[in-house]
Amino acid sequence: MPHDPTVTLLLVLWSRMVRPAAVVGITLVAAGWALRPLEVAAWKAQEGWWPKEGALGVAGAIGQGGAFAQLGGFRSLAADLLWLQANACWERRDLAGTKAALVLVEAVDPRPMVFWLNGARMIGYDMAVWRIEAQGGEEAVPAAVRRRLEVEQALAAAAHLERAFVHHPDHPLLHIEIANLQLQRLGDLSAAAEHYRRAAVQPEAPFYAARIYAELLRRLGREREAHDWLVALHPTLPPGNPYAMADTVLARIREMEARLDLPPSSRYAPGRD
């Protein structure tokens, strides 16, 4: 049989490179497939800990420091340094720099709530003022333009906070911050009330969220609903906790009952089911 060098070379390539690589590849794919249920279950529990693909792309923009933080685990330190950078830009009223630094902070370490909340305040309140000043100040900018800039920044801040829900699902402080933007900048009482309600039903919600929700319902003309909400709330408030303000809640219930002119049988009696 003639000895063909090409065939020999192909056989050597097959035996030394292609076949081993194929065996390793197929085994690893099979192992990956078999272990996938375990991986999916474990990953589901911690998916919110890690930034998404897009965010990592931004993190890549800060170079080795970001990659180092992602891979090495120094996320807190990297995020803190970026937060310093964001604040330095904020002091200079550098809109682009502050926005970029906030995105990087979010990408590197989305866990600390303080970054999300303070970042949203910078975007929603401060940046609107900077943009107005950049166009000549309040005197020079027409009211309609000022309003448009305020709305744009408030919506950007709300979008920033919505991204935080991936990492902190239904966190009450995020709902409250969005509600404040709706209330103070966008003037949407209904949306603000809904966010206060969603904050109030969370286990770690501050007591004031439920009270403000009732107040917003009252302002929306839904006083009976507000009354029922406070009546349901009052028995759950710890009497010894000054932040719960149980007496204030009871006083508001009485005021509402008077305004609604409820008959004595429909009025709230503490301690009665």
């Binding site: 690893l28 794919v29 891979l71």
Partner: protein
Amino acid sequence: MNDSLPFSLGRVGVLAGNAFREAVRHHVFRFMTLFAVALILGCLGLGELNFGESEAKFIADFGQGALVLFGSILTIGTAVQWLGGDGEPRAVLTVLAKPLRRSEYVCGRFLGTWMVVLVFCALVTALLVGVLWTRTPAASVEAMHEAPLVGLGGVSLAGVAVAGALQAVKFGLLTAMVLLIASFAQTNLFALSVSALVLVICHLQYLARDSWQAGQGWIERLGGSLVGLVFPNFQLFGGGEWLEVGVGVSLVAAGRVAAYGLAYTAVFLVLAVWSFRRREI
């Protein structure tokens, strides 16, 4: 070839002991341990930088960072030299000249390297617990006596231990992966480079999984699925998130991740043995 010999755990133990002693005497172990300790102690001076988290969480996160970074360097640096290449003046030849199966050699080297990394993880974790303990207010320490899982500003001492243990499991997996790479690498430089690259890919594997599930077009999804299936997901082992075990993270989830890591380790070790048996030395 001595592959007609029956597999002996005794020979594996002797080889593991030798590998452990050699690795502990190696500069890589001393320097990595020294750097990790220095970094953890040094972070005490950076306490003013903890804007987003409590000081305890910042220290714990920083310590985990040191463990992950220097542990990875130690694992790769130690494991890469065992299976030939151009390192350790071909010491592998003298060992394999003895009545010994190649599978025993690989398993012994694996266990020896893993033991070194376990010692490193135990040292760094113990130091981290000690540092956290000294920085904890007296009231929190009293509370911890009553309930050891009580969080110190979002961190629990049990969580620090679990995080350290999971990193040790991950380094075991990394050791097996490096041995597989070293089993066919012709030079240590090649093995080192590829191992470092694989480490990065494994840390970013979750992005490939995302592309697999929600990629645009079949090419992206196919690529994502291949990377997602071939490489283990190192992010499961976390950077600092397991520090919250008992506070916000469950021990069952940690056990599931450990099982995942150990199963993958076994697969890579079997492949390393298979590949090393085929190697011409």
